[in-house]
């Protein structure tokens, strides 16, 4: 699944603030919130209902939203949520604060690269070059998917915002591939110094 493969590891989207932002446009029930999230805010990686309702409960507990039960004919009552003044203040604070960009200093690929170097020769079949080749393969597969998705969206009339999301995914993968080239350079240099490479 596109979403599953491309999801930024570690970076978690604030469902809380997404919901506060949607409710700032006016009261809505859960289903409407879900549709707006999927359609506009998180278009390529749908959230499940469970996540949305759990977050709404927490927001209500913290006094950021309130709900009203609206009776419906022949259907279960629905909860309509709206923003409290505290909720609006929290939203405005969040919107004006820069997002925390992860420096990713506990990077998993780096960890594998280093460990493969340490274990090379001790554990059969382990080699940093093989680790990096597998990473490169996976990154190109993902980049191919992003490219295909962009192509399918592009021909006409796709919302440009979705294109921006795909661009971000693409640029990250391109940067990662560039970094893998650096790793290769380091490996090659190491190998030419130590002929057992």
């Amino acid at each position: 699944m596109l979403a599953g493969r491309l999801e930024a590891k570690g970076a978690s989207l604030s469902v809380k603030h997404a919901l506060l932002g949607l409710l700032a446009r006016g009261p809505q029930h859960g289903y409407e919130l879900k549709a707006a999230l999927d359609g506009e805010l998180v278009p390529l990686s749908p959230l499940n209902f469970g996540q949305i309702y759990t977050t709404l409960e927490r927001l209500e507990r913290d006094g950021l939203v309130v709900h009203q039960v609206v009776a419906q004919e022949e259907r279960p009552d629905k909860k309509v949520f709206s923003l409290t003044p505290q909720g609006r203040a929290e939203l405005e604070y969040w919107l004006s604060s820069p997002s925390s960009l992860s420096l990713d200093l506990r990077n998993e690929t780096f960890l594998k690269f280093m460990l493969a170097g340490l274990l090379r020769g001790r554990v059969p079949g382990v080699h940093p070059a093989a680790v990096m080749a597998a990473e490169r393969r996976a990154a190109f597969d993902s980049l191919h998917e992003v490219a295909r998705a962009r192509l399918l969206l592009d021909p006409d009339g796709s919302p440009p915002e979705v294109g921006l999301l795909l661009d971000l995914a693409s640029l990250r993968l391109e940067a990662f591939l560039k970094w893998l080239d650096r790793c290769d350079e380091v490996l090659t240099r190491g190998a030419s110094g130590a002929p057992d490479g």
Binding site: L2, R5, R136, D141, H144, R148, L151, L152
Partner: protein, 258 residues
């Protein structure tokens, strides 16, 4: 004489569009000899889009030149549409290049004094096709790549993206068995580059065109079906880019969300 015909073989026929066997190329001799390629094999089915990547000096441009019959290998051979290039004399090789291979370059290489249409028709005119027919086929090729409205413009009046479209039309006009593209996005901004890549992709998907593209741009390479990475004149890495899912599946997913 040349055994190559201008007819485009049907997609899926058994003859690969391109084959390279044990390809090596050395430049210079003695102590200054440089081994640009040290034994490369490849086989490209018709209707497949192959991207060749690698750092500068890895041999990727040399590979492109050998496959295009622009230089001769030191050893090994190249077959284009089943035709062994080493079996051809210079005249026959020129004819094969003209009729069966289309070239797309980084800097477009259009003739500035000719209009876009005349540039596209040129390979046919040189090949002796009557002017009326050449013009008609050139116009059709320009239509196909979405640049027909610029037929009367000289290259200097066209944007980079438009010039590259004209160049793609020129590469297509002979209905070649193979298009060779050398850094086709190298001189374009990323949006225009994406559009040119989308065009090349469409030629593969809709017309079964075979393309071999050399690039250092991973974003462009990711549009291909397969990726070949060269390093120090060897194939360091080979990969099919299918990502495990078809384009149709991705599309359905995106449609379901809109």
């Amino acid at each position: 004489m040349c055994a190559a015909s201008t007819a485009r073989p049907a997609k899926g026929s058994v003859t690969p569009a391109v084959e390279a066997q044990g390809l090596t190329k050395a430049f210079g001799s003695g102590p200054t000899e440089v081994q640009a390629l040290r034994g490369v094999d490849l086989s490209l089915r018709q209707g497949v889009f192959l991207a060749v990547m690698g750092p500068s000096g890895s041999g990727k441009s040399t590979l492109l030149h050998l496959v295009g019959g622009l230089t001769k290998p030191t050893s090994g051979k190249v077959l284009v549409g089943g035709q062994d290039l080493s079996a051809l004399n210079d005249d026959a090789l020129t004819l094969l290049r003209r009729r069966r291979i289309g070239f797309v370059f980084q800097f477009f290489n259009l003739l500035p004094i000719l209009t876009a249409l005349e540039n596209v028709a040129l390979p046919l005119i040189i090949d002796g096709v009557r002017e009326a027919e050449a013009t008609q086929r050139a116009a059709a090729a320009m239509e196909l790549v979405g640049i027909a409205h610029r037929r009367g413009h000289r290259p200097g009046k066209l944007s980079g993206g438009e010039q590259q479209r004209v160049a793609v039309a020129r590469a297509l006009v002979t209905e070649p068995v193979l298009i060779l593209a050398d850094e086709p996005t190298g001189n374009l901004d990323s949006t225009t580059g994406d559009q040119v890549m989308a065009l090349l992709r469409r030629l593969v998907d809709e017309r079964g065109q075979t393309i071999l593209m050399v690039t250092h741009d991973p974003r462009a390479a990711a549009m291909a079906d397969s990726l070949l990475t060269l390093k120090d004149g060897f194939v360091a890495h080979e990969q099919r880019l299918d990502g495990g899912r078809s384009a149709g599946e991705i599309l359905r997913e995106l449609e379901g969300l809109s």
